[in-house]
């Protein structure tokens, strides 16, 4: 599993469990890594479609 895949999984787990500290950390990582920001944004968009 790639680093990006791991972070995607971590992001979805954090979103599911209301783990705000982990989400904050992931968004901070994304600030330095545009491709991570893009990927997290896509995951967030999927979550937005579900609500």
């Amino acid at each position: 599993m790639s680093d990006m895949d791991q972070m995607a999984r971590q992001f979805l787990d954090a979103l599911d469990h209301g783990d705000l500290p982990s989400l904050s950390w992931l968004w901070q990582q994304a600030d330095d890594r545009p491709e991570l920001g893009q990927m997290l944004g896509e995951r967030m968009e999927e979550a937005a479609r579900e609500i």
Partner: protein, 199 residues
């Protein structure tokens, strides 16, 4: 809120000192969608207007903090992850503040939901022990097993939103409905025990 608006944002071209404000204005709706997801996933069963209120307060505070830290914004990078990091921290602080406030409210002034959470969710609830704690346990014992397990999953185990739905093996929406009904059952028995007229 159209579902077709993507949350992802493209990098911005180099710009002048107002690059952040331009980025925020450009990404406002994307930020709003992202914050709404966070609020819905974190806050549990809330009415739509309550969700709207938290979303708008969070975005306003995010805007203020972003502008205050404008010197740290790199216009060569997308602004959305940076703003969502701020928004997430705003929500985290809000949750902590809510928890602190709840701990300071006299037990007699708590709503039934707050009372349940206060009695069941804290590790040191024995230190706060009052007759209410025994009363809560007594009311829970009167409830049907399924209802009691649902309330314990929500308030004792701290499960919320999708996690609660997964525990129950039902959809998020169905979990919210069951939780509302369980709270209603608790409320009726609680009010009867306390001699509070049913509203």
């Amino acid at each position: 809120m159209p579902a077709s608006v993507p949350i992802t944002s493209a990098p911005y071209p180099p710009a002048g000192p107002s690059a952040l404000r331009t980025a925020i204005e450009r990404d406002y709706r994307l930020l709003e969608r992202g914050v709404r997801v966070l609020v819905v996933r974190m806050a549990g069963p809330l009415r739509d207007h309550e969700i709207d209120g938290i979303v708008h307060e969070t975005i306003n505070e995010t805007w203020i903090r972003a502008v205050r830290n404008e010197h740290r914004f790199d216009p060569a990078r997308p602004a959305l992850p940076w703003m969502l990091a701020i928004a997430t921290n705003v929500l985290l602080e809000r949750r902590r503040a809510t928890y602190r406030d709840r701990r300071q409210v006299p037990q007699t002034d708590l709503t039934d939901e707050m009372l349940l959470e206060n009695m069941l969710s804290t590790q040191d609830s024995k230190i706060d022990s009052t007759s209410n704690q025994h009363a809560v346990q007594a009311v829970l014992a009167e409830l049907p097993t399924e209802t009691r397990k649902l309330l314990e999953a929500r308030f004792s185990d701290g499960l919320d939103g999708p996690a609660l739905a997964a525990r129950l093996g039902i959809s998020h929406g169905a979990a919210r409905v069951r939780l509302c009904r369980a709270l209603q059952q608790f409320r009726e028995r609680w009010q009867a025990r306390k001699g509070i007229p049913h509203v």
